[in-house]
Symmetry: C2
DNA sequence: TTGTACGCGTTATCAC
DNA sequence: GTGATAACGCGTACAA
């Protein structure tokens, strides 16, 4: 591998001079600068950022941890994060926890030893607190995205979960629904709790009592257990609408309904949080509370880099991104 | 930061002994091993992989470059790549070229200076050859995925592009279509060329002459110019079916048709390469030639790591992954 | 079983 | 303007 010394020898200068040319630091005569540059070209020299990281105590690498790489919300977020990172001079190390604490822990260990300069972190659940505490112990700056974690003081980019859920539920109520089910993520995840709260807000405001038997929880990354929904639909007074707490659950629910020949929206209205990527362009079907996923990533990295630069001095910052309700064909009046 | 020396001092041994404990190398008395381990725990020691990389001349990092991070095909591929990398003890550095050579070049430069151990590379086009040559000059092993590049000898994971396109087109012909258009990617991309060849194969075998006026090219990552399609549909003998060379183009085309009230499949059949992610679960609509995207990534990383381990000794390997045609509702008999 | 000396490629510091 | 030297944190080779 060609090193800074190889260049120095050929250019008949010291390694230090070469370093100064590379980094545009210090004063150098135009003549030697040109000469060194030419030789670097000739020898295809590329600085070794590993060595540089070692001495500078910074890697210029950021890490992004998401919980579901198959979910368009998170991939779009990743895209925003990458754009911001590149623009600010960082590389992005990429991780996917699948909502599993064990995978998340492995990833945190890796991140620690890689000495990334910061982490954009979408926690699997409240129990991620241990992992975040580990980052804090090691003074690795991080910013939370999408999900909050009780007990962890950190910069964060979040959506209007409560408001969005409220709006979606209110929309269903306006259409005439009174029996509205919620298919939620696990209550150990902040977004699930907030969306639940918004759902209840809307019910309360409209004088509809919350009915425990219309509430159901499962992992945000897969709708895998149809049995609770079976029970719900077998109720004497079954729901006429379902609020799914994210896109993946909505798609799961609609697949479930299709299998049972329950037409949407004729027999059942469905609304959800987050759009479904390409799908919505194919057939704009789902009524959704859309979040600016790209901005989640972009703003998150921006916050993170500012945090890195300001060290611990700056105070905690919370960026709250708006949610847009988009009404489409999956919601309609209840069957008569 | 706590270093190997801090541990050594506290444990009253040399740094070397600590290193041996960390790496399970050499013989160490159980007593000192335990003692060192305990102290590492106490002090929250995490080895600095930057320093380790510098001396071992390997980073245990792989890099994945894809062309469209919003495309479910590539994100699923990324997921497979990440799983394989983790399993084999590597981290994954993540990059997205947006099909742009300029972004690809920046990314290659970054990869070079980061000294990753290898790159899983989905090239933007044939012109990526320069970038790949740069990797070769610097002896960075790489494996191509999805797309081939003429003139570059490298391990590669590809799909059955020609066969898949042939099958899709044949399916349309069997349904009775004779005027079948192709909305293709740019012919500077190998997959576009191969899918075109498969399309023509099917036409020829069935005695249908290839008609230049039914052929159209645009970037694989966005269907952005409706004008050529306008012209095509204004033809005296317009197409009754469209073969879109990937999922993004298919979605674009269907959106276009919807805007003009051209019903699919009643007035126009549409078939395409690659599935559309969540969308297809929502409403299994598109007839597609589905590729095992996850396997693309998984096998790609596996090949890459084998290549890294065998250095230059092993011969070139080509992994060809099967394509499944899935017939759904977007294709039907031509209008009478 | 454990330790010493050195090198990995770069930059910071200080001297000239 | 430019250079010599030390240091970043760790592993290898060799010695004890």
């Amino acid at each position: 591998m060609v090193t800074i010394y190889d260049i120095a020898k050929r250019a008949d200068v010291s390694a230090m001079t070469v370093s100064r040319v590379i980094n545009n630091s210090g004063r150098i005569s135009p003549k030697t600068r040109e000469k060194v540059k030419r030789i670097m070209e000739e020898m295809n020299y590329v600085p070794n950022s590993t060595a540089r990281s070692l001495v500078k105590q910074e890697t210029k690498m950021l890490s992004l941890l998401i919980t579901d790489i198959m979910n368009p919300f998170f991939t779009t977020l990743a895209r925003g994060a990458e754009d911001a990172a590149l623009k600010l001079g960082y590389k992005l190390l990429f991780g996917n926890s699948d909502e599993k604490l064990s995978k998340e822990k492995e990833y945190v260990d890796m991140v620690l030893s890689t000495r990334v300069d910061g982490v954009l972190f979408a926690p699997a659940s409240d129990e991620s607190a241990d992992h975040l505490a580990a980052l804090q112990r090691h003074r690795i700056p991080f910013v939370l995205v999408d999900r909050d974690v009780p007990g962890i003081e950190a910069d964060i980019v979040v959506g209007e979960n409560r408001e969005g859920a409220d709006r979606l539920t209110s929309h269903l109520i306006r259409l005439g629904h009174r029996r509205i089910a919620i298919v939620n993520g696990l209550s150990t995840v902040s977004t699930a709790r907030e969306r639940f709260a918004g759902y209840v807000d809307a019910l309360n405001r409209n004088g509809i009592p919350f009915d425990e038997s219309l509430s159901l929880e499962c992992g945000f990354n897969r709708f895998d257990d149809p049995e609770p929904l079976d029970r719900m639909l077998a109720l004497p007074d079954p729901p006429t609408a379902i609020f799914a707490a994210n896109n993946v659950l909505a798609v799961g629910v609609i697949g479930y309904l299709r299998d049972r020949n329950i037409g949407v929206p004729d027999l059942m209205s469905v609304a959800c949080f987050e759009d479904v990527g390409l799908a919505s362009a194919l057939d704009p079907f789902l009524t959704v509370a859309m979040q600016p996923a790209y901005e989640f990533g972009y703003q998150g990295v921006k916050l993170l880099v500012e945090r890195i630069r300001s060290k611990d001095t700056a105070e905690r910052r919370i960026v709250r991104l708006p949610t847009d309700m988009i009404v489409r064909r999956s919601t309609g009046r209840p069957p008569v």
